[in-house]
């Protein structure tokens, strides 16, 4: 069973993502901030990370940096799900190693789920 880690501080977003992913047969782990995210990765390494950027304590950029500088973790695909729509943020996230970036309010959840499936089925290559 594929493991998905959702890193998101808004409960209602977590809820809908979790429900949709579990229907697809994934097991879903949740972290509500950057610190917790790294703990969850250590404790239960996921096959893919869905990452929000603005969170209390440590933010998504911190998580991205930690994941990509770790030899084991850097191969885990990371999809950024953020409502920060500015060019600068998108560019920064992609340069830091994010594999994809969705502005949540501009994409149906179905699109996100489809993309997750593509990565899990190995149909997309991952940035190392």
């Amino acid at each position: 069973m594929k493991k998905v880690l959702i890193v998101e501080d808004e409960e209602f977003l977590v809820r809908s993502l979790k429900d949709n992913l579990e229907v697809e047969g994934c097991s879903v782990d949740v972290a509500v901030n950057g610190e917790e995210a790294i703990e969850r990765v250590k404790a239960n390494q996921p096959d893919i990370v869905l990452l929000d950027l603005l969170m209390p304590k440590k933010d998504g950029f911190y998580v991205l940096e930690e994941l990509k500088k770790n030899p084991t973790w850097k191969l885990i695909p990371v999809i950024v799900l953020s409502n920060l729509g500015g060019d600068e943020e998108i560019k920064k996230a992609l340069e830091m190693g994010a594999d994809d970036y969705f502005v949540k309010s501009q994409h149906p959840i179905e699109e996100v789920i489809e993309k997750v499936k593509e990565y899990l089925e190995g149909k997309r290559s991952v940035k190392a």
Binding site: N20, L54, N83, L84, K104, S105, E110
Partner: protein
Amino acid sequence: MLAGTEKREMASTKMSNKEKQKIVVPLTARNQALEEIEILKQGFDLLSDLVTITDNNGIILYANEAVEKSTGFSMTEVIGKNSGDLWGGNMEEEFFKEMWHTIKIQKKTFIGEVINKKKDGTKSWHELRIYPVVDAKSEIKFFIGIQPDITNRKKIEKDLEDAKIAARNVLEDLQTEKEELARAKVKDDALLESIGEGVIATDNNGKIILMNPAAETMLGWKLDEAVGKLLAETVPAEDTEGKRIPGEARPLSVALTTSDAVTTVHPDHYYVRKNGTRFPVAVTVTPIRLDGKTVGAIEVFHDVSAEKELEKMRTSFLQIASHQLRTPLSGTKWLIETLQRKIHGTLTVGQEEYLAELYNVNERMIRLVQDMLSFLRLESGDMQVKKEPVSVASFYGEMVIMLGSAAKNAGIVLTDATKDYVAVTVETDTQMLRTILESLVSNAIAYSKSGDEVVLGAKEEADSAIFFVKDTGIGIPKEEQRRVFEKFYRASNAKLVRPSGTGLGLAITVMFAEKIGGKVWFESEEGKGSTFYLRIPKKAQK
């Protein structure tokens, strides 16, 4: 002449000189006295002072030649008259009262100044000295009056007085002017001192002549350190990246050479202080012209750090606001979608309908937030317009790929009519161009029906390129065409087809077009379709 002398004179004139000498007249004491008087009289006539001898009532017994010369009254007119009546007309009663009291009652010498009235009515100024002559019994026998003419002296005194007054007036005027100048200078100094903006005056070579305290503070240079030095060297200017802006490119140089006032428009101007630190600055330079020549310039500048901070805060506020608004909206969007995907059970028809409505309303909110934030950012002038070379042909190629899936979902065929196009390159901001065309294409798709075609094309003109997006959709009703660019305006037929539109799309498109120096217009017929055009100059303006 005194009576009694006539006989003797007549006698002497009849005789010849020889005969005169032979006659020896026995000299009586009286004759001797008469001769002495005669000599005295001749002496008196030599004087320029007026001499009168009066009896103790002021009746004139004798007057010297000077009296006639000065007053104009002849001897015969004067003898036996009162001098006061003759030439005393200019003096007050009081004067004569005092005079008589002194000489007659007090029997003392009177000395005063008189203005005599000449026979012809004109005036002369005299000192008046009256000496009473008393006999052995102290009775007054005669008054002797001596009057030196002081008219000239008086005139000189008056001229002197006038000169003094004139000089005093001139002095006062000068003093007043000096005070005015001092006041004006104080005002100007106070003005320059209190102006929060830096003011620097230079000569026509760009050398510093003057600097106000605000400039000194902002730059870290004191006037006496900077005066005479070139402004361009003393105060280096840089752009955002820290690259030096050469002297010729700076506002001061431009103003001096073109004689036009220059203002920095972009916020990329920084001044470097004496200590090496820098601050963002807004500069205006005005050349000083005198008799048609530029003799110098005045530069006024101020530190815009606070304004930049504010702008940054505003920008980050907008960013945070946009994030905070999008987050709950994305939440509701996904929650509704999850229900619609029947993950939590099947749905009745009614439930499906309601969810669809909920979803549309939510989408409308999302688009509204998006458009309003774009609009606010455009309005705040916050967007920097880039200048990049864009190949028209390849640009459209990319767009077709990007919008391909959206078109497919709507059953629309997207055609790129520029495939056989001769490559034209324009200099513009790629992102903004993309935003404009995306907006036009997504409109074309939204207002077409399944099976319709949307054509993307371009035309070349001498100085510009024209992009067009042609659809065969619902078109715009004629009477509403002039309103579609209005903010929040939605055409009546558009509202039916796409209820979640915001009415801001075209308004924003036009604002972006203006940013890149372009123009948007359309041709449309209701029920037949629309073609939207965008013209942009080949070379980016400014």
